[in-house]
Amino acid sequence: MTDITILPALSSAVSEVLERMFFLEALGEAVEPAPEAETVTIQIAFEGDPAGSFQMRVARKAADAIAADFLGEDPETLTCQQRTDVTLELGNMICGSVLSRMESSASFRLGSPRAVEGEEAMRSQPGDTRYTVETGSGTLTVSIRMEERTCPSTPRFAS
């Protein structure tokens, strides 16, 4: 699978999830993701054809705003756990939406999303497809790595 097939799925999934459930418009593709120290990184492994892994890195400020909007609460009243839970669910939704856009001979099965830090946090690797958007409160970067398919296929729709 190549960038040219996965990238439209990534971008449309990010837009749809942010707009529909988080009331946020992706303000356009950003060139530089937020510095790692100020971000939260979520990782999800998935099984299917192909299997692979997904990462989302979001600026902490953006994550806080997103969590408050999702729960319909004021940002100051949220607990750390609530912020983490919403961020995990955001990653889960984007990952699921991307995979729903990919044609596959078998259903994808997502693992539980988990927050990662340090060495496990996002690093660009050959074969990763990455997409970064500006949310208004900071950047959000998603990255997906697909293993080799057993059956050749293409995304169901590109946008």
Partner: protein, 128 residues
């Protein structure tokens, strides 16, 4: 009429969101149970009656698909309407879950009003 519902999802944030949608939809809740996976949901149902089950699919342990299978296999539980809420929008998956007995299906991401419409279709229009 006051309703008793069971929300099954491994995400506490999603459970909170769904609960809020139900409350804002005009349904009076006399009980709202939560479960982190299918096994917890079945444990709740051993001792509590509910009018509807809302369930995710991708969960660790007993997932949503297995939960639907076990509900369908149980004489007492098979009549409880279940609405699936999942990111999987593939036609095959939806058809399979409806065949397993799901009464409704909402694909994430969704507007709250979409879930409300599915609840109204399943439970009836709320009375005020």
């Amino acid at each position: 009429m006051a309703y008793r519902v069971l929300i099954t999802d491994d995400s506490p944030a999603m459970r909170a969101f769904v609960r809020r949608v139900i409350e804002l939809s005009g349904f009076e809740l006399s009980a709202c149970f939560e479960a982190g996976d299918g096994a917890e949901a079945l444990a709740v149902l051993k001792s509590e009656w509910v009018d509807a089950i809302l369930t995710d699919i991708n969960m660790p342990g007993v997932d949503g698909e297995e939960l639907l299978r076990r509900l369908a296999a149980d004489e007492m539980l098979r009549g409880i309407p279940a609405i699936v809420i999942s990111t999987d929008a593939t036609a095959n998956r939806i058809a399979r879950l409806l065949a397993l007995g799901a009464r409704g299906y909402v694909t994430k991401p969704f507007h709250p009003e979409t879930l409300r419409a599915e609840l109204e279709r399943t439970l009836g229009v709320p009375c005020d």
